[in-house]
């Protein structure tokens, strides 16, 4: 009943023309960024967070959530039309979307993707609304002891799950933690790696760091790839316009006939989203795989089966809402998009964590209401604008990518009017580019940077409260549990899995040798 009353209050605050306008603009921008290959919702979030400085906290978060929702589904459009996913998670959508487009039904595929995406989004938003408060209530009983070990565990889990190499993931997280310590000490306020410049008193600025490593490094990489690939044949053209009129309708029975797939995929996406470190792409492929195994038409997957599109889009969109559960309850981002939203919360004076539900309950429920409104807006805007989004796929990359660089520069300059931030942006773009090429996880770097300050504060509070006696972490059952989980993850992903893979490779080589 409390949740219902709170949601009614949330809708009251969120249901304004201004808020709706921000949501709609966010969705449109998110879809556009999702449609343009190589960009996506993470780039859009990183670039557009600075402009939310001038918004109210509710409008800012509603705008950014709209971008996230639009971006996640926008990537399906180029995946379906030209087999060039706009976002990594849309690669799974291309498996059935592109064959369906080649059969002359691209718009049917895009509509299916949109409706499934909205379904998955709404499902996970409802789970978020039902679970966020209970999770936060449990987290409120945690003190610095527990939170220190929870963040330590998060570092390890994210590093373990962010890529194939645990070692490289942990290196990136450790570097992020180190960079987060630059600036004034959070307890003593003494200078630490400021090099005598006041620009570093507040630490390395978050926006240039995030935009440089996440967005600008990706753009750099694509520019160099374009340079390398110039002279190669152009990508296949879009299907002719006549195909957008033929066999475009999708009957309600045709869509809802696969309701089991929709719900299964939404559950998979929601589950993946709740656990920090698991990505949207994983959810998409897990949903697809589960649907193919369970479906009586499993053999048709990969040949333009609607159920395949429904499975991937419902799963990847369901991550968006549930990802905010650990973010709001614990202040621990589930993925990069959630990490950027944490940055946005902090910019607006809202510290994510269990106290968020206590100190900012009205704002949180207004955000929940905005998310539900955003799903409806997403459905309408996405459906009405289907033929418009297609046009964005045609914009040449040699115009889009340099424009994105300019947007990044303007984006970091606007909040602080400081060329120091522009310099940091360029510096971290280079760092991010090198990390990309060397296969070091930028996700771990960013999350290590974001969690680093809290980790240090909780650790030092633990030391001060317990008079430098850290054995309390071993006697506290919750802390001990998370420490053991940390050690388990290190053992499992750092030793056991690589050894098993090594044995499998050796067995495969022996089998090849004996067959020769």
């Amino acid at each position: 009943m409390d949740i219902l009353n709170s949601m009614i209050g949330g809708f009251e605050a969120a249901f304004t023309l201004v808020n709706l306008a921000y949501i709609c603009v966010g969705i449109v921008l998110g879809i556009i960024f999702g449609v343009l290959p190589g960009l996506g919702s993470v780039t859009a979030l990183a670039m557009l967070i600075p402009i939310t400085f001038y918004f109210t906290p509710l409008a800012a978060i509603a705008f950014l959530v709209g971008i996230n929702k639009g971006g996640t589904s926008g990537g399906a459009i180029p995946a379906i039309l030209i087999n060039a996913p706009g976002t990594p998670e849309a690669a799974a959508t291309a498996l059935d979307g592109y064959p369906l487009a080649k059969q002359g039904r691209p718009e049917k595929a895009m509509k299916t993707a949109l409706y499934s995406s909205v379904f998955g989004d709404t499902f996970s938003d409802i789970v978020l609304i039902l679970l966020a408060a209970p999770f936060a209530a449990i987290a409120l009983t945690f003190g610095p002891n527990e939170l220190t070990t929870i963040i330590l565990f998060s570092f390890t889990m994210i590093a373990a799950l962010a890529g194939r190499s645990l070692v490289k993931g942990l290196i990136a997280a450790a570097l992020g933690l180190f960079l987060s310590t630059w600036g004034l000490d959070p307890v003593d306020s003494t200078e630490r790696m400021t090099f005598g410049t006041i620009y570093l008193f507040d630490g390395i600025p978050l926006l240039p760091f995030a935009i440089g490593t996440l967005a600008l490094s990706s753009v750099l990489s694509q520019l160099y790839d374009m340079r390398r690939d110039r002279g190669k044949p152009p990508p296949p053209p879009l299907p002719p316009a006549s195909q957008f009129r033929a066999e475009n309708r999708i009957a309600p029975r045709e869509f809802w006939g696969n309701w089991k797939t929709l719900i299964r995929s939404a559950c998979i996406g929601t589950g993946v989203g709740i656990l920090p470190g698991l990505g949207v792409t994983l959810a998409a492929f897990l949903g697809y795989g589960a649907a193919r195994r369970a479906s009586p038409r499993g053999d048709n997957f990969g040949k333009g089966e609607l159920e395949g599109i429904q499975a991937t889009e419902a799963a990847n969109s369901a991550v968006v809402g549930s990802n905010l559960i650990p973010t709001i309850a614990l202040g621990i981002p589930g993925n990069v998009a959630a990490a950027l939203l944490i940055g946005a919360f902090m910019i607006h004076g809202v510290v994510p964590g269990p106290l968020m539900m206590v100190n900012h309950a009205e704002l949180i429920y207004s955000i929940f209401a905005s998310m539900l409104m955003a799903n409806l807006a997403h459905l309408i805007i996405g459906r009405v604008g289907i033929r418009i989004w297609v046009q964005f796929v045609k914009i040449p990359k040699h115009i889009v990518l340099p424009t994105v660089v300019l947007l990044c520069v303007v984006g970091v300059y606007i909040p602080t009017n400081s060329m120091f931030d522009v310099g940091m942006l360029f510096l971290f773009a280079g760092v991010g580019y090198l990390m990309r090429k060397a296969g070091f996880s930028i996700v771990c770097l960013v999350i290590g940077f974001l969690l680093g300050e809290n980790f240090e504060i909780y650790l030092r509070q633990t030391v001060l409260i317990n008079k430098a006696d850290l054995t309390v972490l071993l006697t506290n059952p919750i802390s001990l549990a998370f420490l053991l989980l940390t050690l388990f993850f290190i053992w499992h992903f750092g030793i056991r899995v690589p050894l098993r893979q090594k044995r499998e490779r050796a067995a495969a080589r022996e089998a090849d040798a004996s067959s020769d």
């Binding site: 374009m226 040699h398 520069v409 009017n417 090198l434 090429k437 296969g439 001060l464």
Partner: protein, 164 residues
């Protein structure tokens, strides 16, 4: 990628040692309270972890890498085909970016956003293979001006320019 891991490991070890023994001690203060942790502790823990892990990565690459055969070095999960290894080509690209970034920064600061970014856009479009002079000229001139005006009209922010 094996060579990248070895070199990255070596460079990270050297950088970590430098941070541990020079950068952090020279740029931090002792703690105010006996009960508190030193301000240098968490950065040292982070860099120490980086040092140990870099050593592990380099050792794994040196002694484990020889047995990896072609096709077994799977695609990186975060970056896919983008993770090609930090080859000489990548380092040259990084140098190019460093020079371009320094040049852009200097020009924005001392000349202005519009001329600097117009030059940057034109150069970038030529770099990636655009050849239509009208498109290059129009986009390069119009985009910085539009963005500059948008920043002023919507956010009341004037981008740098010597004439402002």
């Amino acid at each position: 990628m094996r060579t990248t891991h070895i070199w990255a490991g070596v460079l990270l070890v050297l950088a970590s040692v430098w941070c541990l023994f020079w950068l952090i001690p020279d740029n931090t203060y002792p703690p105010d309270s006996e009960l508190d942790l030193a301000p240098s502790l968490v950065p040292s823990i982070a860099i120490g972890a980086c040092l140990v892990l870099a050593l592990v990565m380099a050792v794994q690459a040196i002694f484990g890498g020889r047995r990896v055969e072609a096709g077994e070095d799977h695609l990186d999960e975060e970056f896919g085909e983008d993770a090609t290894g930090a080859s000489r080509h990548v380092l040259v690209n990084l140098l190019i970016w460093s020079a371009v970034a320094c040049g852009c920064w200097y020009l924005i600061e001392h000349v202005g956003f519009e001329p600097a970014m117009a030059l940057f856009m034109a150069a970038t479009m030529l770099f990636v293979g655009a050849r239509n002079p009208w498109t290059i000229a129009l986009v390069s001139l119009a985009t910085p001006i539009v963005l500059s005006q948008a920043a002023y009209q919507f956010f009341n922010t004037e981008l740098p320019a010597f004439w402002r």
